[in-house]
Amino acid sequence: MTAQVLDMVKFLWAHSVLQIVIVFACTLMMVPILTWVERKVIGHMQVRLGPMRVGPHGILQGIADGVKLLLKENIVPSGADKRIFVLAPILSLVPAMIAFSVIPFDHWFYITDINIAVLYVLAISSVGTYGIILAGWSSNSKYALLGALRSAAQVISYELAIGLSLVGPLMMAGTLSMVGITKAQAEHWFLLPQIVGFFIYFVAMLAETNRSPFDLPEAETELVAGFHVEYSGMRFAFFFIAEYANMVLVSSMATVMFLGGWNPPFQMFEVMHVLQKVPGIFWFFGKVAFLLFCFLWVRATFPRFRYDQLMRLGWKVLIPMALGNILVTGIVLALLK
């Protein structure tokens, strides 16, 4: 009996089904936890308490929110393009989820490894923008539309920076496969040689996920809630989940591209090989968690950009910097060869 179950598990694992289920479930479970953590951390940073009501220290707040959203009425505003209005949250959530299929969490734990993995992630995440734009447009609301327009412009601009900042690690690794890139960082992470790239990626990833200080598409003070102002109930929750899934996704990407993926730190020193005793997946998630914490940290610290500042930063600072980084990396690699 046990053997049969084990066989079954092995079969499912081999055919990625179980991995998909685990990744999917974990991502979804991250959302309530992350929302709680976010409110708690930012609260503490701003000398507040954060949620305190549901459960001890409000630990069940995320679940309560989820239940609330689940039970809420799904409102379709009058004058909305109903089909697109319904489609938009799905279009937003699905890419965020399927992009996880190429992230290697450990050397034994990834759904698939393809030779264009990085491009795949970029391609899929660029589709997520449609959810936002269409949501804003189909709501028949000026706030939503403005939020969507901002989002579209922002994503187009920062996608370039993200793509270019990833070119450095790619050049160093010489492969587009995620597993390959991670393996290339077994000793030296790309963080140090690609510190400029990491900085650009970090900034662009904040912008790409519409997080503070680049949360202009949903700037509460100006646009009420931006593109999802007309959404309620589970449709709103879809956007919410998509946003957090995207955060986890870009953090995972950063981990893989710059922070050595599942590799423990300081492996250039013999002494530090002890760290390999800790399973790689913990390293991976530790790094992701730190990056996610950075998201919150930044949000609690910096005020929102103005729109022209955002555009100027993207086009006049980050992209030239990224191009320069590629140039320098290329020259150095050529010299080292």
């Binding site: 393009d81 697109i84 489609l87 393809i114 030779n115 264009i116 491009l119 795949y120 970029l122 391609a123 899929i124 660029s126 589709v127 923008t129 449609y130 734009i133 269409l134 804003g136 447009w137 189909s138 539309l145 969507a148 327009l149 579209a152 412009a153 994503v155 187009i156 996608e159 793509g163 587009l176």
Partner: protein, 169 residues
């Protein structure tokens, strides 16, 4: 077998979404159908073992060009777009005749090709490189000059677009 089925699925979906795209009254709906079509074309490229192109198809077409379309559609007055009068049938005969002529030409060529000549043999793959690597090899050696020209085109387009859109003409 799976590949065949997949091909027919893609075949049908690409054509269907293309037709839908052309016939939609509302531009945003057209854009959505076009997005659908791009996805399936990307699938087709994967079927044709051009993974890199599949990704680029999504990144460039879906992620950049189509978003730009949507962006501009939203910039112009949508109500006006919706009420745009279209003389659909005024151009229909001309369109059908010219499309039909072209179609006939291609079909005759294809028919002759398939009937008279043997289909081209699939030449055995020599290279062990993966598709992006192989493409890179070709692109940066054989096609280096066109590549540079393409970058120049992009630069000119960039400057031109900014200039046209920003200045009051």
């Amino acid at each position: 077998m799976f590949g065949t089925l997949f091909f027919y699925y893609l075949f049908f979906m690409i054509l269907a979404s293309a037709v839908m795209m052309v016939t939609r009254k509302h531009v945003v709906h057209s854009v959505l159908y076009m997005l659908l079509m791009f996805f399936h074309i990307a699938g087709l490229y994967i079927l044709l073992e051009a993974e890199f192109l599949a990704a680029i198809q999504l990144i460039v077409y879906a992620g950049a060009i189509l978003v730009l379309y949507l962006f501009v559609i939203m910039l112009v007055n949508i109500k006006r777009v919706q009420t745009l009068r279209e003389q659909l049938f005024g151009h229909l005969p001309f369109a059908l005749v010219s499309a039909g002529l072209l179609c006939a030409g291609v079909v005759t060529v294809l028919a002759r090709e398939t009937l008279l000549k043997k289909p081209p043999e699939v030449v055995a793959r020599v290279s062990t490189l993966s598709n992006p690597e192989a493409l890179g090899q070709v692109l940066y050696t054989q096609y280096l000059f066109p590549f540079e020209v393409a970058s120049l085109i992009l630069l000119v387009a960039l400057v031109g677009a900014v200039l046209i859109a920003s200045r009051k003409i």
